[in-house]
């Protein structure tokens, strides 16, 4: 999952990027409104953590412009301005959630997980596909109840596929959602990680749809 952190305070920005990266997200950062608008306009983020009080362009304006441009990624507003008028303005501008400063990182991570689940249509914190189970709270994957040891990149790939169980996901989409903008985007990398995953989980779960991409599905027989 790819997250954009928009926060002008360098310390807080650093903390957010570190915490989200540790939680397994591909994270990009922006320090002002214009940069945030550009990134949100050009990159396919799953979730954006957006501060309201930003230099160059305020967060509400950035959000409104994204929504006008039909950018429908989930946005969590993060701000010190915690009056209800600010919250209502933020939600009316198109935000999906609101976190007031100062906040606990765990609370923000929980909100981000909720938005990621919501984006893929999952109401519960656990996502299952056959014997495979992902606990989004703890970022743990189990197979028939047994933990599956995964590297960071493997976890990101499997988690994305689990969030989109049953849907064909292209290699491009995977690259765009699993890596930040600084990553060397070689689609072969995806194939390498898919190969590694197939060795750790039942191989039939990840189907290759020729010319289109991959699909995670519990069924064994594919047409």
């Amino acid at each position: 999952m790819r997250v954009l952190v928009v926060e002008d305070d360098p310390d807080l920005n650093r903390q957010l990027v570190a915490a989200l990266s540790d939680a397994g997200y591909a994270v990009d950062k922006a320090m002002d409104g214009e940069e945030a608008y550009f990134l949100g306009e050009t990159e396919p983020y799953d979730v954006v953590v957006l501060d309201i009080g930003l230099p160059k362009m305020d967060g509400i304006s950035v959000l409104e412009q994204w929504r006008r441009a039909d950018r429908n990624m989930h946005v969590i507003i993060l701000t010190a301005r915690d009056r209800w008028s600010d919250k209502v303005a933020g939600m009316d501008a198109g935000a999906d959630d609101y976190v007031a400063k100062p906040f606990h990182m765990e609370e923000l991570l929980a909100r981000i997980r909720a938005q990621v689940r919501r984006a893929s249509g999952h109401a519960r914190a656990e996502i299952e596909c056959g014997p495979l189970r992902l606990d989004t709270k703890t970022a743990r994957v189990t197979l028939d109840g047994q933990p599956v040891k995964l590297t960071s990149h493997e976890y990101r790939l499997l988690a994305y596929l689990l969030h989109h169980t049953g849907r064909v996901v292209s290699r491009t989409e995977l690259v765009e959602h699993l890596y930040d903008q600084d990553f060397d985007r070689d689609s072969n990398t995806i194939e390498v990680f898919v190969g590694r995953l197939r060795k750790k989980i039942p191989p039939h779960l990840i189907k290759t749809v020729r010319g289109l991409g991959y699909r995670l599905s519990p069924e064994k027989d594919e047409a």
């Binding site: 807080l12 903390q15 209800w84 209502v88 939600m91 919501r118």
Partner: protein, 460 residues
Amino acid sequence: MKLNSLAFRLFRTAAVWAVLVLPLAGLTIDWVHKRDTYQSFDARLSQLLTLNIAFSTDKGGPEPTIPRNVGEPLFELAHSGWYWQITPLDKSPGKRLVSTSLASETLPLPSKLDLAPDRYNIIWHEARGPVGEPLRIAETLYNSGDDENPHFYSFLVAGNLEFAETRVRDFRVPLIFSLALAGLGLVLSTFLQVRYGLQPLRTVERRLAAIRSGEADLLDGQLPAEIEPLQTELNALIQSNQDIIERARTQVGNLAHALKTPLAVITNEVGDDTSPAARKVAEQATVMRDQVSYYLDRARMVARADVIGRVTEVRPVAEAIARALARINRDRDIAISVECAADARFQGEKQDLEEMLGNLADNACKWASSQVLITIATEVRAGERHSHRLLIAVDDDGPGLTPEQRAQGIKRGRRLDETKPGSGLGHSIVADLAQSYRGHFRLEQAALGGLSARLDLPAV
């Protein structure tokens, strides 16, 4: 009409004028008229006396004769009150002559009463006539002889004083009526002047009320030149008041941002560090967070205190908050509904209504099982200063609170369940805000089964 009003002052001035000055003027006019009437009466008697002498001595003899023409027909009418009498004095030749009206009666001679004559040698006296009528008598002594052989005669003319007295009396009726009419007219004209003259002040009063109720922003419109400076100063005051509020809000917002972002950094920097120092920093950061929130809210309230001219339509605010909360809680399958009276208008700041309603609805959403109901009604209470009231109820179908918990629930920082997120300041902020608007906040048992948070606020 109030005793300390301008209208009463003007009325009092007019009343004093009417009660004191008009009677005094009446007395003066009556006195002048009476004097003129009696002077005219005397002048008439004096004239008749002169005629009497002239027409009774024009034959050249030493004795006066009956005057040919006395110029007054009433001398011929018996006991008319108008008489003349010629009386020889000191053995002067001739006999006493009298007017037909006097018949056989005799009038007393003032000259015998030792009265002083006026500068025309006329002796004036008042006496009763043959039938008791009041008489004014003018007498003069005439010498038809010479210094060596004088022949003195008393020439006397009397007039009925009732003529003069009636005239004086008759004049008083229209005089009193006219002055009473003048007094009434004065009071009436003062009343009209007050009504017309003070009309601009009433206009100012109405427009200020409109500003206070939020129907107008400034004291606009054309007002008389005397009130224009007041209008200008009031508008400047209102504008200044609004500017101060806006500046205070901006500064509070900036302060919030300036304090809360570093607090967030501190809180997250210690993160999962379990060392005593890190725990102490985390603990103190939490205390600072709560204190900052509390005093920022207080600062906002102080900045808002008694701000004038603000009215907020309630329905859009309630619907916006319900919309925002529905979006935030969309995974929890909670139905948030708003039932709002069409005429619900809060007499106060939109941000404050949002803060109260938002905190209550947010709290209701945290505890609700499936339903939150926001009900807004209006009420008019006769006899109260702010008679129009806005009644807000935010009900949920959650577990609710016991009566003891409800009493504790609105105290500052009191969190009845630590498992739900929040600083515990929500209800106390609502209570403080409601109180600052001279409103009330209380917690009750909801019909839905959970908690019912109720607000009673001023409405328009």
